[in-house]
Amino acid sequence: MNQIPALVRVFSYLSILTVGGGMAAFPEMKILTVDVHQWLDFKQLIHLYSVGQMAPGPNMMMIVSIGQWAGGTLGAIAVFIAFFGPTAILAFVVAKGWRKLEKWPWRTSIQRGLAPVSIGLLLAGCFSMAKGAITGLETGAMAVAVLLILLQYKINPALLVLASAVVGLFTFMPK
């Protein structure tokens, strides 16, 4: 069955939800890709997202993997265009106008108002992901450890995620 039109529809919709970061779209992404279209299961979505944090570049490139699974190479390309196209065009159009609005008092209001909402969306995405990722004491402790280390030290997060893979290997391997 040809999944390309559905992929384009879903990912162009998710695209405009990424206010403040890719994670803002995570709750909807879970519903649409896992529950509605069943391109992958929840655990796989979490795994792909997490592995994607180790890749260079924008931290949502894991969408390409979903596209590839559901629609092959063409699916991957379609998802890429659908996910980055709409917001790129929006940024392109708005950028010029936004600069001219420097004196407009509501500009600051919009930026200040959107800040807490985008942080809230990020947090909401984090919680919905934690439902699948934090399954016990060990995973909870690891998440807290990563949080504290990142707040305390200037360490590259990608390295920490990599280190967690090693910790996971030793902790969660069936004996």
Binding site: V19, P27, A55, M129
Partner: protein
């Protein structure tokens, strides 16, 4: 997420003169390709290092300005920045070159990772390692939430909007779009433009 720690080249770039002669579309593509291939653990510090310090395509003030626009708009910081910088240098061709360069390395990598994971994802040691990776990712997002809160909130009351947003999405299952519009409008109205003194304070984002 790209705000994260480990920032190489966060040192102030004083006196960075902006004199981009003619920057070709290919140069833009190449520079963003390098950023896209090397920016492990968050794009923003690498962007600054490359665009401000190395290439002098934008100055520090412009960089911060563009970053705040990128943050307020939907879309990832990384690609929004590529659009804005590309547009400044070479119009829409520059934007396309920037986004493609930025995304190509990570995209190809995740393409390959996706195929590998599909075939070997059930392997016991892959599952074990990924369990650790997923837990770490949760911690990583939380740390982004904390650092963004420290940096971009302008009022204590903002935590109410954060809470409202989380409740609307996770408890009421209102969906992201409705939540964004509803809480967004509330929050923008709360930060309505006040008189002169406030204006001055807001000049520094």
């Amino acid at each position: 997420m790209s705000e994260m720690a480990a920032r190489p080249g966060m040192q102030p770039t004083a006196g960075a003169t902006v004199a981009p002669a003619e920057v070709s579309t290919f140069q833009i593509f190449l520079e963003f390709l390098i950023i896209g291939a090397t920016s492990f653990g968050g794009v923003v510090p690498y962007l600054r290092e490359s665009l401000v310090t190395k290439c002098h395509w934008v100055d520090d003030k412009e960089f911060v300005e563009m970053l705040s626009i990128s943050q307020s708009l939907p879309g990832l910081n990384a690609t929004n920045m590529a659009v804005l910088v590309g547009e400044k240098l070479r119009g829409w061709m520059g934007s396309v070159a920037g986004v493609l360069g930025m995304c190509l390395p990570g995209g190809l990598l995740m393409f390959a990772v996706g195929i590998f994971y599909r075939h070997h994802g059930d392997h016991v040691w892959v599952t074990a390692a990924l369990k650790g990776v997923a837990a770490a990712a949760v911690g990583l997002i939380l740390s982004t939430v904390v650092s963004l809160s420290k940096k971009s909130l302008s009022s204590k009351f903002d935590f109410v909007f954060i809470a409202l947003t989380v409740i609307a999405v996770n408890r009421l299952h209102l969906g992201v779009p409705k939540t964004l519009v509803a809480v967004g409008i509330l929050a923008i109205l709360f930060h309505y433009p006040r008189k002169k003194e406030e204006q001055k304070a807001s000049a520094t984002p």
